[in-house]
Symmetry: C2
Subunit: 302 residues, 2 copies
């Protein structure tokens, strides 16, 4: 047992997976949780997702050693403002938001002096959401990035253990750097996948049923991405604007160069480009970060 | 048995898979094959990929009832020019090129009067290539598009049986329409995946090792695509220029609109867009074209 009581604010995919993993691995004696709507709270209570469901966030954090904010990035500040005044000194506060600088800036000012703030981002998810989508193995063998800033080292070590106990590999990083890395490896890839699916959906000369039928040829995983929660992703882009726009700028620059090569019939440019990109794939395979079963970073239920 | 002798020109992923599937399913009494380099021919002979390896394409097509061109799209014309004069009347000639209009235009003029030309495109592949990458189940439950134009219906029906025998679902289409559909479902998605990987590889502020390490978060399947054969994909873009540029134009238009929404903080636009793209995913699931195991249209060896 690492924490006596853990409070989860929000009871969706990530909170549900934390609750199930923490209980299965014996990392918390009690897991308490709350969600915005009565419906989600009722579902969580019915399926026994947490030990206790409270009506409000303020009730949830009462007596908790660890509080994790598991709501969309854009909702973090309001939650922090609500619970801040009620947090006992020494409480560890964390979040699981996919953006770290904006969440840190939004949450930190509302926490009392004695609270220990350790933002986190587990690099694991599926395209499903809600209280029934969580599962205990979601974080196994996935990275979890902490951006602890100046939190006491012993508390950071303890919180690391919590994530490692759920099977994650934990790394520490500066929040701005996290946002830049994730813009490349996750945020912009998601935006272009959403775009590509939008284009397909718009076409009149190729029917939707054809797109659907022949989607096996490369497009299908884009549609999986484009089925992810709209609120979560809206908030990611609204809160990682700088890095997203920077990487998008690079992306369109490169795309235009390739487009020009296609238009001009410059096979050498295309061949060179396609040869160069092979190396990075080799690196990923060598780093043991992929198997023969691609999943676009998503995990299956066990 | 559907054909007595099948000749495969080219002995890579697709040809190898045809050879193995046709023999396993008893669709051809003899499969003969040839490749450009002595090395590939020697490998194919050593692993018994086909019944007989010939030195030249002309030798391979001698006495064949069905000849399938399994070389990159840009190499189809030269092969057709070489074998055309040697084809017996009634020989069925096909190809497996990922582009259909350009291949049809390049190959047809070189075929003799009595030959039956039925272009084909199996929508199946992996990122691997070469004579050792083929496997007998590659086409199972995948679509194979035929663009038979005015080929005799009985010969089309017979050739359909050949692909159905290998486990494929066969559809017929006009070649230009095929190219437009595939531009959306395969060619442009591949181009933007190549681009995204190129961008990541170029960045100096995010290291390659970080990109590799955290690639689980959405980017990884892009790298799989970007490991595909450079020659094959160069030829696809050089030969499906019109449809590629048309879809790319639509793509950048949509991307710019989303980029503007990110810059302006227009959450409503983003949320609406991300909500709309969910529907197409539902369609794909309902059409039975995906399971919980994404693979970017690629197939695993059994
Ligand atoms: N899904 C992923 O792939 C993934 C991966 C890593 C990190 N994350 C991050 O994890 C966080 C949660 O994501 P999730 O996938 O678990 O989402 P989810 O399944 O949609 O759950 C979100 C939870 O937040 C609550 N909520 C939503 N809006 C709220 C608001 N305005 N005020 C208070 N509560 C609100 C919801 O309550 P109701 O159900 O009552 O509406 C729900 O319980 C997000 O910050 C996301 O960026 C997600
Ligand atoms: N891979 C896929 O995902 C996929 C899917 C559907 C359709 N296709 C289409 O199938 C065709 C073959 O692809 P593949 O994946 O099987 O490729 P592959 O594994 O690279 O094999 C290509 C074969 O073509 C030969 N070849 C290459 N260049 C040639 C040239 N200039 N002249 C004569 N022969 C040449 C090669 O001979 P050497 O080995 O001796 O060089 C090799 O035997 C392409 O038209 C492609 O568009 C591919």
């Amino acid at each position: 047992m690492i924490y006596r009581r853990v409070a989860l604010i929000g009871l969706g995919l990530i909170a549900g997976s934390i609750a199930l993993a923490a209980k299965r691995r014996g990392l918390a004696r009690e897991v308490v949780g709350t969600a915005r709507t009565a419906e989600t709270r009722a579902t969580a209570a019915r399926i026994g997702l947490v030990d206790r469901v409270t009506e409000t966030a303020v009730e949830a954090v009462e007596g908790a050693e660890l509080v994790i904010l598991c709501v969309p990035v854009g909702a973090m500040e309001a939650v922090a403002r609500e619970i801040g005044p009620k947090l006992a000194p020494g409480t560890v506060v964390s979040d699981v938001g996919s953006v770290k600088q904006a969440v840190t800036d939004a949450v930190a000012p509302h926490l009392p002096e004695g609270a220990v703030f350790i933002p986190a981002h587990p690099l694991a998810g599926t395209e499903h959401s809600g209280p029934e989508s969580g599962f205990a193995t979601l974080f196994e063998n996935r990275f979890c990035v902490l951006t602890p800033h100046d939190a006491p080292r012993d508390e950071v070590a303890r919180y690391r253990q919590f994530w490692e106990g759920m099977g994650a590999n934990v790394d520490e990083m500066d929040p701005a750097h996290h946002d830049r890395v994730l813009a490349v490896t996750s945020h912009v890839p998601h935006l272009i996948a959403y775009t590509m699916v939008g284009v397909a959906d718009d076409l009149r000369r190729v029917t939707n049923s054809e797109v659907i039928k022949y989607s096996a040829a490369g497009f299908r995983d884009f549609t999986r991405i484009a089925a992810s929660d709209p609120t979560m992703w809206r908030d990611v882009f609204l809160n990682n604007t700088g890095a997203t726009l920077e990487i998008l700028g690079r992306f369109t620059e490169e795309l235009f160069a390739l487009q020009r090569a296609v238009r001009k019939g410059d096979g050498e440019h295309l061949h060179d480009y396609f040869t160069r990109t092979r190396a990075i794939r080799r690196g990923i395979l060598e780093a043991g970060q992929d198997t023969d079963a691609p999943d676009f970073g998503r995990v299956k239920k066990d």
